[in-house]
């Protein structure tokens, strides 16, 4: 099944607006002073959560498309990925602005000294080349290497997950990291299904040909 160009455009517009909702709701709550006793922590948590949600949604597109044969889904993937980057930037902004008030030396020390922050920062850095090369023109220019480069998102998801798990380890509150971890692992495992099948088929083919050989 396919979608008309017009319907797909509408769908993308709707997705764009709903992806902005978490930001808008948070801004609205902040203005009304309704973010609780520690509004800054609340913003940091929320932007971090949404980074992970959008990363997960981005990773879900390909398996969903294959499973459902709804190939228009592919057209949403870039926007989801860019929103993951957008919320990651907001997350980093809350950290640099509110946590350290733009004190670069302090930020550098924190990023370097604390593996939990190092890991999150690495994930953000790795997202930058993916965002930069997300245009059609770049995709054409890079050709095969584009897909190789964008496989880096698997690593980003794992780093983000580790960052989240580490953050929660203080409270030993792993329910959400485990849930997100299981979902992401399933999405990553789905990508291995095709290659494994091909490998098994290839081996079978090989053993057949071996069997056929005269002893």
């Amino acid at each position: 099944m396919s979608l008309s160009v017009e319907r797909l455009k509408q769908l993308k517009r709707a997705l764009f607006l709903s992806a902005l909702l978490p930001l808008l709701i948070n801004v609205w709550l902040a203005v009304q002073d309704r973010l609780g006793a520690n509004p800054i922590e609340s913003l940091t948590r929320s932007s971090g959560d949404w980074t992970l949600y959008f990363l997960t949604l981005t990773l879900a597109i390909t398996p969903l498309r294959r499973l459902s044969q709804q190939h228009w889904l592919q057209a949403l993937r870039r926007m989801l990925g860019l929103f993951a980057f957008f919320y990651a930037c907001l997350h980093f902004t809350t950290f640099t602005w509110f946590d350290h008030f733009f004190d670069l030396a302090e930020i550098g020390r924190d990023v370097w000294k604390r593996p939990f922050i190092t890991v999150g920062f690495a994930a953000l850095l790795l997202l930058i080349p993916l965002a930069v090369t997300s245009t059609n023109a770049m995709q054409r220019r890079l050709g095969r290497r584009w897909s190789q480069l964008h496989r880096m998102v698997y690593g980003v998801a794992l780093l983000a997950l580790l960052h989240f798990w580490w953050m929660r380890s203080g409270k030993q509150n792993f329910a959400e990291p485990i849930l997100m971890g299981v979902i992401i692992m399933i999405l990553l495992a789905a990508r291995a299904v095709g290659p494994i099948q091909r490998w098994i088929r290839a081996r079978k083919g090989l053993s057949h040909s071996l069997d056929a050989e005269p002893r």
Partner: protein, 330 residues
Amino acid sequence: MAEQGAGIIMLIKIPRYNEPLASEITPSEIAYSRRLFLQGLAASSLAASGWTGSAMATDSSTRQRLPAQRNAKYSATDKPTTYADATTYNNFYEFGTDKGDPALYAGSLKTRPWTLRVDGDIKKPLTLDLDMLLKLAPLEERLYRLRCVEGWSMAIPWIGFPLAELIRKVEPTGNAKYVEFTTLADRAQMPGVRSRVLEWPYTEGLRIDEANHPLTLLTLGMYGQVLPNQNGAPVRVIIPWKYGFKSAKSIVRIRFTEVQPRTSWNLAAPDEYGFYSNVNPEVDHPRWSQASERRIGEDGFFTKKRKTLMFNGYPEVASLYSGMDLRKFY
């Protein structure tokens, strides 16, 4: 109100309480003088009325007043944190690990009748109920800074009396080197106890000289009233120069021992939380710096976090640790 968060919005965690409270509307100076006036009138009659915990236990007007004399010597000059912030942003894992959980779920805690057992290496073991506790020593109000190990702080007017008063009454033997606090762990009243986040019951401990320090407060109230459930009702301890988790809540047993007590957070993560856990800007938590802190309600969007003070700004306790390497005994 509690059902406000639904669907997608739930993920954004809208705070449940936003109505201004009586204590917020009334300037605190006026509220305090009014309270002093009421204290004389109402002290005895109110002391007899029951404490009914409600799920929405953040409305200051519903709690029982607790008369106490302000102790200026032990009161910081910091601006008190608002009652609303102090009662909706709590770490009390027996009611859940989210800091909004205690305000939501502590209503189920029954604080009367309550029994506090005092035993161990003492000559006069005691079993106290709340009325006995309230009469054990004159109640004082002290505004203490509270520094959480997570990097935020508050300033709270507690009501209680020095733990030393109780210690004197039970006459510790020469073996009593430490004091252990055991807190309530009742699955029926505390939904968080079902989770295995920590080992229950929550236990904390102090060296006997720390417990005897005049700053260590056996605490029964705050903001002129009995303790709200989410703040550790009906009786807790406050050790203002240590990270907040040392100040055990809803205590059912105080035991004097010769060996250092096992403490819950130290058991859970020994490399992150030591037995002493004195506020110390120079010794970082492995996952974050302890050099600065955010004062809840004050340090916000356009101000830098404030510097954390050694011993949380209580230098008089330094002599307790002379000769000790505070990096080793964190």
